[in-house]
């Protein structure tokens, strides 16, 4: 006996919308059982994990702050993934974007330079990420190098470049030789008093709308989709495959670079090792969680952000171990992916009768 996945004929759009909701409910039920087995109250955990975070302005703001870099990177990556190009190196592009974007804030720190530094820094950050993404893209179009490997390996290069700069030339001279730059003056303004909701958060929705428009309403977006779904058809239709590679990598690199500089200027305020905490990799999850659809990725980024913040609250309020909150994140992701699969396919049990 074995199981087989059979594609369903036509799937109602409602099923697609309701699938993630059902997945969240299933994950909560599974998590509740685990928590009950551990001898804690599932109701209290649910309250702390979801209700408290979602019902307080602080929790919502923090979710937006956490989700923003994930969303921006994922939106960029969706161009690559839709075209079946596997840019696994957004983490590196994020870091290089943060570095290049930090040049002006670093050298103007303490000089009283005006607000003009910030928009320039954002543009430079995006260009930095773009340029860094061009390396795997050019390697692929000129030598046929697998972009999966080259983009991934470049993450470690970026990490070490950051390391070198904050320990060497960019080190804070008054910082007792600790690896970090001075604090920048050119940081993004906050949108609310006392919170950490910085202006960069606004760019997320804007980029979502732009991406949606480009993918669904422009010839270029059509080319991206065709390149991914039917590469031969794309070639016959006259789309240049190499140009597609360069364009998709440029977009995702620029988005990751922008996310990097936003994180530094909006959240951290200086350069130091480990500025990313894995955003470039988590964003891959977010992209597929959102089925590469701009609005879906908003949902994906918010869910991931919620699990991080809710997980922390659960550790604090209920003294639940970190491993459990991480496990719950995993269960949630598995449920969302499973629900997605079950909407498109049905499971058929095949008995071992030989034909």
């Amino acid at each position: 006996m074995r199981l087989e996945l059979v594609p369903r004929g036509d799937v109602s759009p409602w099923a697609r919308v309701l699938a993630p909701v059902a997945a969240v409910i299933a994950a909560v039920l599974i998590g509740g059982v685990v928590i009950a087995v551990m001898g804690r109250s599932p109701a209290a955990a649910f309250q702390v994990y979801f209700v408290d975070t979602l019902s307080e302005s602080w929790g919502l703001q923090e979710m937006a702050v956490k989700a923003t870099p994930l969303l921006i990177i994922a939106v960029g990556l969706s161009f690559c993934f839709r075209a079946s190009l596997w840019n696994i190196g957004a983490e590196g592009q994020f870091i290089i974007g943060a570095l290049v974007g930090s040049i002006l804030p670093l050298y103007t720190a303490g000089s009283g330079a005006g607000f003009w530094v910030i928009p320039l820094a954002l543009v430079m950050g995006a260009l930095g990420g773009l340029a860094y993404a061009m390396i795997p893209a050019l390697l692929r179009v000129t030598f046929g190098v697998s972009e999966i490997l080259s983009s991934l390996m470049l993450v470690y290069v970026a990490d070490l470049v950051l390391d070198y700069l904050v320990r060497g030339p960019w080190r804070d001279p008054k910082g007792f030789n600790f690896p970090q730059t001075v604090n920048f003056d050119a940081t993004l303004p906050f949108l609310a008093d006392g919170g950490r909701l910085h202006a960069g958060v606004l760019l997320g929705p804007v980029l979502v709308l732009v991406a949606w428009f480009v993918i669904s309403r422009t010839l270029f977006g059509f080319g991206v989709r065709v390149a991914g779904e039917a590469p031969k058809a794309a070639r016959f239709a006259g789309f240049d495959a190499n140009r597609m590679v360069l364009a998709a990598f440029a977009i995702s690199g620029a988005a990751a670079g922008l996310a990097g500089v936003l994180e530094v200027l909006g959240q951290i305020g200086q350069l130091k090792p480990g500025i990313s905490s894995g955003y470039g990799f988590t964003a891959i999850t977010v992209a597929f969680l959102g089925r590469l659809h701009p609005l879906g990725m908003v949902f994906g980024a918010l869910v991931v952000a919620l699990t991080v913040i809710g997980g922390e609250s659960a550790q604090i309020a209920l003294k639940l171990p970190l491993d459990l909150t991480r496990t719950f994140q995993g269960v949630l992701l598995m449920c969302v992916l499973a629900a997605d699969a079950l909407v498109s396919y049905r499971v058929r049990i095949v008995t071992m009768a030989r034909a």
Binding site: R167, G168, F176, G278, E312, I316
Partner: protein, 354 residues
């Protein structure tokens, strides 16, 4: 109807939190690694448990583990806004986030380990780990046959660099021909990477491994090859019973209990604490797997440092290029010179990553 629910809810909430709980001081801890690293974060967590044991009825403690440093501001604030009145952030990378949250919550007391920025409600504390490194150096200098020591280092920050130097000075005091090879693992906790670093060092002829990373992996590599090694942050002998010579044990227990008591009494002040053997913030685990004369030498060295008769950074200290380092602390290098150390002493065959 809804009002009724609200009232009922309020009563239930009131019953759920007895008045006594409200009087307890909530103390929070932020760890950079998992408490199961059996090294650095594990020892901090031992300190938290010591607080619970000593002051159990007066305090409630909470911890967050494995907190990424650049993303820690939210985690620290989570503790501050959930009623924690004293918060320990236990790794250097938490410095700027702690400073920011401390400004925002002036009524909450903060303590940051191994940093240098203080505020009215933000104290700093660290330990003189380098004292233990000196003792290790003396042992290694006596026991090595290949005259080559392998050093698994984390990041070239002053704490690590001063540890390397103290180790070398201790080793040179008994064995001028000794060489120290360094591999930068660029991590505090990554058993795989740490093990690889130790393997590379053993392959290069090191017969004793010492580490400034937090997992027992380098020790276990030495054990597997029949070589010797030192444990880090906690007594790691259970991971390598034949290889372990001793471990530098961080002891935060007394400090944490004292500071929590001070917060309870209202005598807490923002200050900088930097203690070593004498303050009982650093201990040596039992000296094992070595002959008695080396054991005695190690015990004497530890006692001399503890009494102040011996300072690992006694002047003159000569740097890698043969220049004598300016002596700003009278007979020894000053605290500032050690806390900001960014040079190697003579004899270390490595370039400091710049």
């Amino acid at each position: 109807m809804r009002t009724l629910f609200k009232v009922a809810g309020a009563i239930a909430a009131g019953l759920a939190t007895p008045a006594a709980a409200a009087d307890k001081l909530k103390v929070g801890f932020i760890y950079v690694g998992p408490i199961g690293d059996f090294g650095y974060s594990y020892q901090h967590n031992q300190g938290r448990l010591a607080v619970e044991k000593a002051l159990g009825d007066k305090v409630e403690t909470t911890f967050l583990e494995n907190v990424p440093e650049a993303d820690s501001e939210r985690s620290i604030e989570q503790l501050a806004r959930t009623g924690h009145k004293l918060i320990f952030t236990t790794s250097f990378g938490f410095m700027e986030p702690t400073v920011k949250v401390a400004k925002k919550y002036p009524n909450v007391l903060f303590e940051h380990a191994t940093g240098y920025k203080r505020d009215k409600n933000l104290a700093t504390y660290s330990a003189k780990f380098h004292e233990g490194r000196y003792v290790q150096g003396v042992i290694a200098g006596k026991l090595t046959k290949s005259n080559t020591i392998g050093y698994v280092a984390s990041f070239p920050i002053p704490e690590v660099v001063s540890g390397i130097n103290a180790f070398m000075l201790g080793a040179q005091s008994v064995n001028p021909a000794i060489k120290v090879k360094i591999v930068w693992a660029n991590t505090w906790f990554d058993p795989g990477k740490e093990a690889d670093a130790a393997k590379a060092l053993l392959d290069q002829g090191a017969d004793i491994i010492t580490q400034h990373t937090d997992s027992p992996a380098p020790l276990q590599q030495a054990e597997a090859r029949g070589k010797l090694a030192f444990g880090q942050a906690s007594d790691m002998i259970r991971f390598a019973p034949k290889a372990t010579l001793t471990s530098i044990v961080d002891n935060w227990n007394d400090y944490y209990v004292a500071r929590v008591k001070a917060a309870l009494d209202g005598t807490w002040k923002s200050e900088d604490t930097w203690g070593g053997f004498a303050a009982n913030m650093v201990n040596m685990a039992p000296f094992t797997n070595m002959p008695d004369d080396v054991k005695k030498l190690a015990t004497d060295t530890e006692a001399a440092i503890k009494s102040g008769a011996l300072n690992p950074f006694k002047c003159p200290v000569v740097d890698q290029d043969g220049k004598t380092v300016e002596c700003k602390g009278g007979a020894n290098l000053s605290d500032e010179q050690v806390l900001g150390m960014a040079f190697y002493v003579k004899g270390i065959d490595d370039k400091l990553p710049k």
